[in-house]
C-alpha cells in the first residue's frame, strides 16, 4: 500500500522490514486520522520518544568510535562503529501502528521535534494514547499539548526533570565492598 | 434445680471446654484446609502441630496493643469484649447431655436450662453483632466502616431467616426449650427429616450469620482488607476471631440440637460424645465449604437472603404449622 497520501509526509523510510513515515509535527493529527481511517490502523501499539542529544558525538553513552568515523571492526554482523546519520531534531516521537487485518501491517508514524516544541495529543484519535503520552511527557519531557490529563504518571508529581533525557544524570549508589585496599 | 455452685462449676467447665474447642477448631480448620489444598498445615508446634493454638495465643498476647490515632478508645476496647462475651454466653443453653443424677443432686445437661432457651440464643446473638459494628465504627477507618456496614446488613437480615427456620422445629416440638426439643427427638425422630427445608435454611443462614465463607463478606480480605477488624491487632483481634469461632461452634451445636437429636445416638449412655461427634461433623462441613466455594458478592448475598431464604423459611414455617394443626 502506498502512503503517499498521508498529510504532512516528509519522508518514507523502509529499514529492517519496517516502514517509517516521518511527518511534520504540525500536521500529526491529520496524518494520524488519515492512517486510521484510510489505512485501517485502528490499533495504536506504542508511543515511544527517543532523545538524540549527543547522537554521533564522541564519548556519548554506547558509542565507542570517533566522530571521524573510524572503522573499529571490518564488516561482519558486528556492524560498523562509524558516525551515525545525523538526526533532524533532538527528539523523535514514534507512534507504532498496527492494523488488525490479515498480514498484520505495521507502520511507524514518526515526528521530529525540538525541546519544548508542542506536539498535539493523539488521545482523540486513539484513546489508548492517554497513558503512553503521559509517560512520554513524564520521562522524556516531550511537550504534548491538548492532552486531557497531562500529569506525571510514573514519577511523583513534584519530580524535577525528565529522566530519560540524555542530559539527565544517571545517578546511582556506589556498590558496597569491604573497603580493603 | 441444681444448687448455685453446681451451675458455677458447670459454667466454668463449659466455658473452658468451649475455649479449648475454639482453639482446636482453628487448628482443625488450618489442618483440614491444608490437606484439601495439598499442604501439611501446622506441624511445627508439637506432634501434628497440636500445640499450634497455644503458640498462636502466646503470640497474640505478647503483641503490642495499639490504638489508631483517631479511634474512639473506649468503644474500640469494648467491642471485642462485647462480641466474645455474647458468643460465650450463648453456649450456656445448648444441652450436651441428658442430665445425670450425681450423689444427691440432679445435674442437667446444659449450663442453664431456660424455658425460653431459643429466644435467649437469638437475643444474645443479636447482642454480639453490636460488638462487630461498634468495633468497625470505633476504629475510624474506611475499610472498617465498610466492614461494619456489611456486618450490620448481613447479620441483621440473615437473623430473620435463621429465626424463621427454627420456627418449624419449635412448632413441631411445641417448645422453646432446647432440652425439651432434644427429648422429643429422642422419643420420636430427629427433626432433620420433617424439617429438611428448615435445616438447609438454618445451615445457610447460619453460615452467613457466623460470616463463614462463602458468606464472609464482613471481613472479605481481598476487598475490604479485613472488614471491621482491620485496625485491630494482638489479642483484641484474637477476641474477635474467638467470637467468630465460638459463634460457629454454638451454631453447630444448635444445629445438632435442633435437627440431629442432640446427645442421642445409637447408644445413649455415650450422650455428650455423640453430641461432640455430631458437632465435629457440622464444623467439618463449615470448613469444607471454605475450601470449595468462592465468595459471594454483597448484593447477591442480600438478594439471596431476602428473596430466596426468607420466603422459603416463611413458607416452611407456615406449612409446618398447617401440617401440625392438621395432624392434631
Amino acid at each position: 500500500m502506498s502512503y503517499d497520501g498521508v498529510p504532512g509526509l516528509v519522508e518514507t523510510k523502509v529499514a529492517h522490514g519496517e516502514t517509517t513515515l516521518v511527518v511534520d509535527p504540525a500536521r500529526l493529527i491529520e496524518a494520524a486520522l488519515h492512517l486510521r481511517d484510510e489505512h485501517g490502523f485502528g490499533f495504536l501499539s506504542d508511543v515511544s520518544a527517543a532523545d538524540y542529544l549527543g547522537w554521533g558525538e564522541q564519548q556519548v553513552a554506547g558509542y565507542l568510535g570517533t566522530t571521524a568515523g573510524r572503522d573499529i571492526n571490518q564488516p561482519g554482523t558486528n556492524g560498523l562503529a562509524r558516525r551515525p546519520a545525523a538526526k533532524p531534531k533532538r527528539f523523535s516521537l514514534s507512534y507504532h501502528l498496527l492494523a488488525l487485518r490479515p498480514g498484520a501491517p505495521r507502520v511507524r508514524l514518526q515526528t521530529w521535534i525540538d525541546d519544548g516544541e508542542p506536539v498535539e495529543s493523539v488521545v482523540k484519535v486513539w484513546p489508548t494514547a492517554d497513558w503512553h503520552e503521559r509517560e512520554v511527557w513524564d520521562l522524556m519531557g516531550v511537550n504534548i499539548v491538548n492532552h486531557p490529563n497531562r500529569v506525571r504518571i510514573l514519577l511523583e508529581d513534584d519530580w524535577e526533570g525528565h529522566p530519560l533525557r540524555k542530559d539527565y544524570p544517571v545517578g546511582g549508589e556506589p556498590v558496597r565492598f569491604s573497603g580493603e585496599e | 434445680m441444681d444448687p448455685w455452685w453446681i451451675d458455677i462449676i458447670k459454667g466454668f467447665l463449659i466455658i473452658n471446654l468451649v475455649l479449648v474447642g475454639f482453639a482446636y477448631t482453628t487448628w482443625a480448620e488450618r489442618k483440614l484446609l491444608s490437606r484439601m489444598q495439598g499442604r501439611y498445615g501446622p506441624n511445627r508446634a508439637g506432634p501434628f502441630g497440636l500445640l499450634q493454638p497455644i503458640a498462636d495465643l502466646i503470640k497474640l498476647v505478647r503483641k503490642e496493643s495499639f490504638f489508631p490515632m483517631s479511634a474512639s478508645n473506649k468503644m474500640y476496647i469494648a467491642a471485642p469484649i462485647i462480641s466474645t462475651a455474647a458468643a460465650l454466653l450463648t453456649f450456656s443453653v445448648i444441652p450436651f447431655g441428658p442430665g445425670w443424677h450425681i450423689w444427691k443432686w440432679d445435674v442437667s445437661g446444659s449450663v442453664v436450662d431456660a424455658p425460653i432457651a431459643l429466644i435467649l440464643v437469638f437475643a444474645l446473638g443479636s447482642l454480639g453483632i453490636y460488638g462487630f459494628i461498634i468495633g468497625g465504627w470505633a476504629s475510624d477507618s474506611k475499610y472498617a466502616t465498610l466492614g461494619a456496614m456489611r456486618t450490620c446488613a448481613q447479620l441483621v437480615s440473615y437473623e430473620v431467616s435463621l429465626a424463621l427456620a427454627v420456627l418449624g422445629v419449635v412448632i413441631q416440638a411445641h417448645s422453646l426449650n432446647l432440652n425439651e426439643i432434644v427429648h422429643q427427638q429422642g422419643e420420636q425422630f430427629w427433626f432433620f427429616g420433617p424439617q429438611f427445608v428448615g435445616m438447609v435454611i438454618f445451615f445457610l443462614a447460619g453460615t452467613a450469620e457466623t460470616s463463614r465463607p462463602p458468606f464472609d463478606l464482613p471481613e472479605a480480605d481481598t476487598e475490604i482488607v479485613a472488614g471491621y477488624h482491620t485496625e485491630y491487632g494482638g489479642m483484641r483481634w484474637g477476641l474477635f476471631s474467638m467470637a467468630e469461632y465460638v459463634n460457629m461452634i454454638t451454631l453447630s451445636g444448635l444445629a445438632v440440637t435442633l435437627f440431629f437429636g442432640g446427645w442421642h445416638g445409637p447408644w445413649d449412655p455415650l450422650g455428650p460424645l455423640w453430641f461432640l461427634i455430631k458437632l465435629a461433623v457440622v464444623v467439618f462441613i463449615f470448613i469444607w465449604m471454605r475450601a470449595a466455594l468462592p465468595r459471594l458478592r454483597y448484593d447477591q448475598l442480600m438478594r439471596f437472603g431476602w428473596k430466596v431464604l426468607l420466603p422459603v423459611a416463611t413458607l416452611n414455617a407456615f406449612v409446618t404449622a398447617l401440617v401440625v394443626v392438621a395432624v392434631k
Binding site: N78, G79, L154 | -
Partner: protein, 425 residues
C-alpha cells in the same frame, strides 16, 4: 481472521469510554453534589492489588462511581539503566520487568537485537525458545488463575495452580539454572544446550497439564457462585478494546480474533497447530475462559515443540556460530588465541549492533509485548522502550468499571491480568 474493517467514523465516538480522559472514571456531578461519596485508596498495599497498584476509588455505598489508577510505585528505570549497559548485559534486564512472563520479555529484546544484527538462528534454538515461551505462558496464566480465584475467595485454587506452576519452574531450573529470570536466550540462540532429561520431564508436564486444567474447571467452571461473580461483569466491547489498545487475552475475550502468534508469525509459530481462543462477551468470565483455553493450547504447542526438538540430532547447534556476537565455545578458550581475544572483546566491550531502529512485537502471556530499540552502532543501546501489555491493560479498568461494586472491582482489575513490575518498568 480478524474482522476489523476500515473505519469511516472515528472510533472514539459511540464507545462506552466513560469520560474525556479515557483512563479515569469520573464521578457524575449529580452524585458529587450530594456529598455522599466516600473516597478510598485501594493500595498501594492492599491484599488484592498485584504488586503496588493504587486505585483511588469513589464509592457511593458499595458502588464504584469513580476510579483513577495511580501507578509508578514500582518504577525502577530499567530503560535508563539499559542505556548504560552493553547489549549483552542488557539481556538480564527485560526479564525482570515482568516477573511472570520473563521469557517473553527476554525474547522480545533478544529478537530486537537479532533483527538489527540480521542474524540467522539455529533451528534447535528456535524450537526451544518456543517451547520455553509456551511453558512460560502456562506459568503466567496459572499464577493469574490462582490469584484471580483467591481474590474471589476460592482459596484452594491457588494451591492447585501453584502445583503445576512449580513443575514448570522445575523445568526452567533444569534448563536455565534459575527458576525465574533465566537469561537463557542470548543473541544468536540459547546460552547452553538443552540438558539431558529435559524431554522426559517436559513430557510428564504435558501429560499432567490437561488433567490439572480439568481439575481447575471442576472447581469453579460451573460453580454457581463463580458464574454469578464473573458473568456480565467488566464488559469491554471489541471496539473499546481496540480503541484502548488492549491485547492478548483481554482483546480475545472481547471477541476480536487476533493473536500475533498466528497473524504475525515469529519463531516457528506458523509451523505448529493451535487454535486462537476467542470469546464474544468481553466480561470477566470470558477472560477467565480464554486463559483456561490458552493453557490447553499452549500445552499442545509445547508437545509439538518437543516432538520437533527430539527429531533434531543430538549435536545440532543451539547458538549461531558468529564469533563477533556469540561467546566462543569454552573448550576453545584454552587452545585458540583468536577465540580468547573474541571472548575478551565481547565480555569487556560487548558486541556492536548496527545503527537503526526496530520495533519487535510478540504475543506474551499478557498480550502484545513490544520492544522499540534504537542503536547508534555502538555497544550499548541508545534507547530501549518496552510496550508493556499490562500498562495498556490497566488503562481499561475505568472503562470496564461501569456499575461495579467493590467486589466486582477486584474481580475486574484482576481479570485484566496486570503485573505491576511491567506496568511501572
Amino acid at each position: 481472521m480478524a474482522t476489523v474493517e476500515r473505519r469511516t467514523k472515528p472510533i472514539y465516538e459511540g464507545t462506552r469510554i466513560p469520560s474525556p480522559v479515557p483512563t479515569i472514571l469520573a464521578v457524575p456531578e449529580r452524585l458529587r453534589a450530594n456529598d455522599d461519596i466516600q473516597q478510598i485508596n485501594f493500595g498501594p498495599n492492599h491484599p488484592s492489588t498485584h504488586g503496588v497498584l493504587r486505585l483511588v476509588v469513589d464509592l457511593d455505598g458499595e458502588l464504584v462511581v469513580g476510579l483513577r489508577a495511580v501507578i509508578g510505585y514500582l518504577h525502577t528505570g530499567f530503560e535508563k539503566t539499559m542505556e548504560q549497559k552493553t547489549w549483552w548485559k542488557c539481556i538480564t534486564y527485560p526479564e525482570r520487568i515482568d516477573y511472570l512472563a520473563f521469557q517473553s520479555n527476554e525474547l522480545v529484546f533478544v529478537l530486537a537485537i537479532e533483527k538489527l544484527l540480521a542474524m540467522e538462528i539455529p533451528e534447535k534454538a528456535t524450537w526451544m525458545r518456543m517451547c520455553l515461551l509456551e511453558l512460560n505462558r502456562i506459568h503466567s496464566h496459572l499464577v493469574w488463575l490462582g490469584t484471580a480465584c483467591l481474590e474471589l475467595g476460592a482459596i484452594s485454587m491457588f494451591w492447585y495452580t501453584f502445583r503445576e506452576r512449580d513443575q514448570i519452574l522445575d523445568l526452567f531450573e533444569m534448563v536455565c539454572g534459575t527458576r525465574m529470570h533465566t537469561r537463557y536466550f542470548q543473541a544468536g540462540g540459547l546460552a547452553e544446550d538443552i540438558p539431558e532429561g529435559f524431554y522426559e520431564e517436559a513430557w510428564k508436564l504435558v501429560a499432567q497439564m490437561p488433567k490439572g486444567v480439568d481439575q481447575y474447571e471442576d472447581m469453579i467452571d460451573q460453580n454457581r457462585i463463580w458464574l454469578e461473580r464473573t458473568k456480565g461483569l467488566g464488559l469491554l466491547s471489541a471496539e473499546d478494546a481496540i480503541a484502548l489498545g488492549q491485547s492478548g487475552p483481554a482483546l480475545r475475550a472481547s471477541g476480536v480474533d487476533w493473536d500475533l502468534r498466528r497473524d504475525q508469525p515469529y519463531l516457528f509459530y506458523d509451523r505448529v497447530y493451535f487454535d486462537v481462543c476467542v470469546r464474544e462477551n468481553g466480561d470477566v468470565w470470558d477472560r477467565y475462559k480464554v486463559h483456561m483455553d490458552e493453557m490447553r493450547q499452549s500445552t499442545r504447542i509445547v508437545a509439538q515443540c518437543l516432538e520437533q526438538l527430539q527429531k533434531l540430532d543430538d549435536g545440532a547447534p543451539w547458538i549461531a556460530d558468529d564469533r563477533k556476537v556469540v561467546l566462543p565455545p569454552r573448550e576453545e578458550l584454552h587452545t585458540s588465541m583468536e577465540s580468547l581475544i573474541h571472548h575478551f572483546k565481547i565480555v569487556t566491550e560487548g558486541y556492536r549492533v548496527p545503527e537503526g531502529e526496530v520495533y519487535v512485537t510478540i504475543e506474551s502471556a499478557r498480550g502484545e509485548m513490544g520492544c522499540y530499540v534504537v542503536s547508534d552502532g555502538g555497544a550499548k543501546p541508545w534507547r530501549v522502550k518496552f510496550r508493556a501489555p499490562s500498562f495498556v491493560a490497566l488503562q481499561a479498568t475505568a472503562t470496564c468499571m461501569n456499575d461495579a461494586l467493590i467486589a466486582d472491582m477486584i474481580a475486574i482489575a484482576g481479570s485484566l491480568d496486570t503485573v505491576m513490575g511491567e506496568v511501572d518498568r
